[in-house]
Symmetry: C2
Subunit: 258 residues, 2 copies
C-alpha cells in the first residue's frame, strides 16, 4: 500500500540543537529556545518559525482555537431510556453550530477500547473507568464529549466526576420509567432478560442506581428528542461552554454561577 | 460544590415525538424528522432548529469544521531518543497554525487510562492496544494525534496500524543510537538498568524492534528538534492533513500520492 518513496529519511543536515538532558521532557512552562535557522533550500511557509517548547500546549489554547470549553455530558439511564438518541441529536446540533464533539457509546467503545471486557461487576467498573479516562483526555483537548452509557452504579459515575476538573462533568440522567423502557425494548433485551435468557440485566436482575445529584434530569417519556437536545444546548450555552472569550485573568471563561 | 439550583428538571412539556423502537439507535444515514416546534417561551437562538438525526455525525463533517484531516503520528524509539521533545514542539507549531491536536504520552496515559498496567510483555501489549484505540477515537473526531511511546514491539505497532483507516497511521521512527540515548539518559533509567536495578529495560535487557516500514525516520543525533518538527509539518502538509477542502466526490481530500 505504501511505496518506498513515501518513506522519508532525514540524516543529511548539520545538527544545530541536539537533544540535551533537560530537553527530553515536556515540562510545565513554555520556553522558547530559538527559531528554525534557514536551511539550504528555503523551507515551505508552513514549516517556518518552529520554536522548541519545553511546556505542553495548554488546554485553554485549544479551547480558544475551538471557541468552546471542553466538558463531558455523561448520559446515564436504563437501556431504552433514550440516552444515545438524545446524545446523537445533540451532537448534530452542536456540529451544525461549529462545535467539535465526540460521542462515546457502546458501538465505538465496546468494540474497540473495551472489547476485552465483559459484564461482571468488576468489568463494568473497569468499563466506566476507562471511558472516564478517555473523556478526560478529550475534555483536556477542548472537546465537548457526549458519553452515553447505562453506567448503573453511582460510585463508578462519581469516580469519573472526581477525575475531571470541577464543572467539567455534567451528569445527564435519563429518567424514564422502567415500564416505558421495557415497552420500547429497542434491542429486544428486556424480553430476553424477562425470559431468563439474559442474566444481570440492569433494571431486571441488576440494580440501576439513579444519580442523586445530576446536573440535568430529562424525562424522555414526557419530552420530544428535539426538546431534550434543545434544553441541553441551552444548558451548555448558559454555562459558557459554547464560547471561549480570552479573559483578563487568563482563565478561558468564568464558569457560570448557577 | 453544586447548588440545587444548578439542577435542571424537565418534565413540564407535552410529548411530541416520543422515542420509538427505531429511534433509539444512531444509524448510518442522517434522517430529519421534524424541527423543534415553538414553545410557550421563545427558545434562545442557539436552541432553534434542532432536528432529530438517526445517523451519527460523520468524520468528514468534523474535519471540515477543523480544516484538517485526522491522523496519528506514532513516535516510536528508545528512551531518550527524543520522541516527546519533537512531538511537543510539533504540537506547539500545529496549534499556532490553528490545528487541533492531542498529545498522548506516558504522562497522561500511564497515570490515567493505563494506570492499572505494569511492564510485563502482556501489559505492554495491552498498553499499546488501548493507546491505539484512543488514537482511533481521536482521529475519527478529526484530531491530529501525536502518540509518543517507546512501543518496542513491531507486532503491537502494526496492530494499531491495522485498526486505523489506510493512511491514518504515520509511523515516525526516532532512529537514535543506543549509545546516544544512554549518554543523554534524561531520567537516569539507563544507569539503573546497567546497574541491574531496573529489569526489562528496552535496549538493555529487553529488545527494541525497529520499524521496517516507517513513514518517517528521524535521526535525532544529527538534526535539531526544530528541524525535525519542521520536516513533520512539511510531511503533514504535503499529504493533505493540514487542510480539508470540500471535494466534489464527497471525500474530504485526496490522500496525496507519494
Amino acid at each position: 500500500m505504501r511505496s518506498s518513496s513515501s518513506w522519508i529519511k532525514l540524516t543529511s543536515r548539520v545538527p544545530r540543537h541536539p537533544l540535551s538532558v533537560r530537553s527530553t521532557r515536556c515540562l510545565a512552562s513554555p520556553h522558547r529556545v530559538h527559531s528554525l535557522a534557514p536551511t539550504a533550500t528555503e523551507p515551505k511557509a508552513c514549516s517556518k518559525n518552529i520554536t522548541w517548547h519545553e511546556g505542553a500546549v495548554q488546554r485553554r489554547d485549544k479551547e480558544q482555537l475551538l471557541n468552546q470549553r471542553g466538558c463531558v455530558l455523561w448520559f446515564t439511564g436504563l437501556s431504552g431510556s433514550g440516552k444515545s438518541t438524545v446524545a446523537c441529536t445533540l451532537e448534530h446540533a452542536l456540529v451544525q453550530r461549529g462545535h467539535l464533539t465526540t460521542l462515546l457509546d457502546g458501538d465505538n467503545v465496546r468494540h474497540g477500547l473495551n472489547s476485552n471486557l465483559g459484564f461482571s461487576q468488576q468489568d463494568r467498573e473497569e468499563n466506566i473507568r476507562r471511558i472516564g479516562e478517555v473523556s478526560k483526555l478529550l475534555v483536556e483537548s477542548g472537546l465537548i464529549t457526549l458519553a452515553s452509557f447505562i453506567s448503573p452504579y453511582e460510585q463508578d459515575r462519581n469516580r469519573v466526576r472526581s477525575r475531571l476538573e470541577p464543572g467539567d462533568f455534567i451528569e445527564v440522567y435519563m429518567k424514564t420509567p422502567l415500564a416505558v423502557c421495557e415497552q420500547r425494548d429497542p434491542k429486544g433485551l428486556y424480553k430476553l432478560a424477562r425470559a431468563g435468557k439474559l442474566k444481570g440485566f440492569t433494571g431486571i436482575d441488576d440494580p440501576y442506581e439513579p444519580p442523586s445529584n445530576a446536573e440535568v434530569v430529562l424525562e424522555s417519556d414526557k419530552l420530544s428528542v428535539e426538546a431534550m437536545a434543545a434544553e441541553l444546548l441551552i444548558f451548555l450555552d448558559s454555562r459558557g461552554f459554547l464560547s471561549c472569550r480570552p479573559p483578563a485573568s487568563g482563565r478561558c471563561a468564568q464558569f457560570g454561577a448557577s
